[in-house]
């Protein structure tokens, strides 16, 4: 953790070294869970200065069109468009982008295989494979359906990933607040987001200290250690919550959690290009229907 955070800080500071650092970080990133890597990419993205409301609305519209039009050409256009935005415009390395996309790929493949391939006791269908106790069978139509479905899901996911890789969570929460999501939920989201990183640090420290005392030497010990670390984490988080509340009160908190949000400009150019892309998708969808 420490190590990768150190790198992250460096990366944000020295943009000229950006290219190199991203690939470097990416190698380490996997060890610490993609969650914090995604958060970090969002802060480093060159699209971060774009208006968050625009990004959220744009990616949601794209997602809806990708699903609603149900058209492989639209899906391919979305996949290419989003990759272009995230990688070329946002400055994320291709390797990092693919590694983030790979997170859902297993689920997609497993889910769509179930649709493309079926099982039967008789040798039916265009293609079949004898497995000793029955037949796996499929057809060109089914395979095509499976491929289109995969494209559709990928398009939808890349639209969402474009948003998450360019907009820090706090800004997404700000957009939700503007969309009149209930205050309680917004406040919870804000606190949880900040809290995740604090507890992750605490957890890492406890785990490392247990590790340094041979707490993970064999399976049984590991289980006991995991239990104690987890219960300790609960106690620590309760204490931290208390300390947090005290500090908030000291700064005049009186029940309303309101944060200063930075207003990001909404250039006409983004609006026009965004609208053009959406219209292009719709026309493409209708023409290739």
């Amino acid at each position: 953790m420490e190590n990768s955070l150190g790198k992250s800080i460096n990366f944000i500071r020295t943009s000229e070294k950006a290219e190199h650092q991203v690939t470097h970080h990416h190698k380490i990133g996997h060890k610490h869970g993609e969650g914090s890597a995604i958060d970090f990419y969002a802060y480093a993205s060159k699209l971060r200065c774009w208006n968050p409301t625009f990004k959220v609305v744009f990616s949601f519209l794209t997602l809806l069109l990708c699903i609603g039009l149900n058209n492989p050409f639209v899906s391919i256009a979305v996949i290419i468009g989003m990759a272009y935005l995230t990688v070329l415009k946002g400055g994320l390395s291709l390797a990092a982008y693919i590694s983030v996309l790979m997170i859902p790929i297993t689920f997609i493949i497993m889910g769509t295989i179930a649709i493309g391939v079926d099982f039967s006791s008789q040798p039916i269908g265009q293609f079949n494979l004898f497995l000793g106790f029955g037949y796996l069978f499929t057809s060109v139509d089914k395979l095509q359906e499976m491929a289109f479905l995969m494209l559709k899901v990928f398009g939808a996911i890349s639209a969402m990933i474009m948003m998450t890789l360019s907009t820090p969570s706090s800004e997404i929460i700000g957009v939700l607040r503007k969309a009149h999501v209930p205050k309680l939920i917004i406040e919870l989201m804000n606190l949880i987001y900040r809290y995740i990183f604090i507890l992750m640090d605490v957890f890492n420290n406890m785990r490392n200290s247990a590790d340094s005392r041979q707490g993970y030497c064999d399976f049984k010990t590991s289980c006991t250690t995991f239990g104690s670390v987890a219960s300790n984490l609960l106690v620590v988080s309760l204490k931290k919550a208390n300390a947090y509340y005290t500090a908030m009160e000291a700064r005049g908190y009186e029940g309303d959690l309101i944060f200063l949000e930075d207003e990001k400009k909404m250039p006409m150019r983004h609006l026009v290009i965004g609208a053009a892309f959406i219209i292009f998708l719709i026309i493409l969808g209708i023409m290739t229907h």
């Binding site: 800080i9 604090i198 947090y244 500090a247 000291a250 005049g252 200063l260």
Partner: protein
């Protein structure tokens, strides 16, 4: 007679486990004072600070700010005017960007947004961290987080600033940065209370020292008087500042004349030696 800015009278507080954490604290604090609060772990320093800010409510005793006794209604006034920089930055930083964090206090004061932004920028440039504005706190280093928490309080424009063990987690470079900020704030006439275990720092920076022991104030005076008093040092388990030892040794061995002009830092000692040897 000057009116104290903060007057604490016979304060008692216990955390609900029976043992009193504060046991009859009375102290008057005047505008512009630079006070070091010293005492061993668990002697009640943090508890005193939280009471002074109104976060904890005393079991007995009263607090007055600029002559007004604090009650439920004007508690806000107290919190606005007394800012605390907490010992652990991670227990203080609540927002997900530095800007939102520093703006949290002013937002709670219900100031108009333009003024909040103005104050945030002012506080950030005061702490020399204006370019951190859009960064998330979880990618900052310890020293950087400390600066953010100080900017938090500067943005609230509190009259009295309390630092709870600020140097505890800082490396020497950041500790020096902190001391420079303290000097700068002092020049602006801010009243400051700092709890610390660094007696050398207390000796060189403070004009007044308050010693806590087991929830009581056992001494209150100039750092020089307190550090010369062996009884108090023993009772509170304090060390003597190195410069005081050095000076007294030099005087004892007749190497410098005792001018009662106690040097508090090596630079001061150098000046003193140069002065004395010119006339010798």
């Amino acid at each position: 007679m000057r009116e104290p800015i903060l007057k604490v009278n016979n304060l008692h507080y216990s955390y609900g486990n029976g043992n009193p954490a504060l046991d009859g604290i009375s102290v008057d604090i005047y505008k512009g004072e630079k006070i070091a609060v010293i005492g061993s772990n668990g002697s009640g320093k943090s508890t005193f600070f939280l009471n002074a800010n109104g976060v904890l409510k005393a079991d007995h005793g009263e607090i007055s700010y600029q002559g007004t006794v604090i009650n439920k209604k004007n508690l806000r006034e107290l919190r606005k005017n007394i800012g605390i920089v907490f010992q652990e930055a991670d227990n203080q930083i609540i927002a997900s960007t530095v800007m939102a964090e520093v703006g949290f206090g002013p937002m709670n004061l219900k100031l108009p947004k333009e003024e909040v932004i103005e104050r945030v920028e002012e506080a950030l440039s005061y702490m020399n961290i204006l370019d951190f504005k859009d960064r998330p706190p979880h990618y900052l280093s310890g020293g950087e987080k400390k600066r953010v928490t100080i900017a938090d309080v500067i943005a609230m424009k509190s009259e009295v600033i309390i630092f709870d063990e600020p140097t505890a987690a800082l490396d020497p470079l950041n500790a020096q940065m902190l001391e420079e900020v303290l000097v700068k704030l002092g020049e602006e006439g801010k009243t400051m209370l700092i709890s610390t275990h660094d007696v050398d720092f207390a000796y060189r920076w403070a004009e007044r020292a308050i010693v806590f022991d087991q929830g009581k104030i056992i001494a209150d005076g100039t750092p020089l008087d307190i550090f010369k008093n062996t009884g108090i040092l023993e009772q509170a388990n304090l060390k003597r500042p190195a410069m005081l030892d050095v000076y007294e040794m030099l005087v004892e061995k007749k190497m410098v004349a005792d001018t009662k002009d106690y040097p508090t830092s090596p630079q001061d000692l150098k000046v003193l030696l140069e002065k004395q040897f010119k006339f010798a």
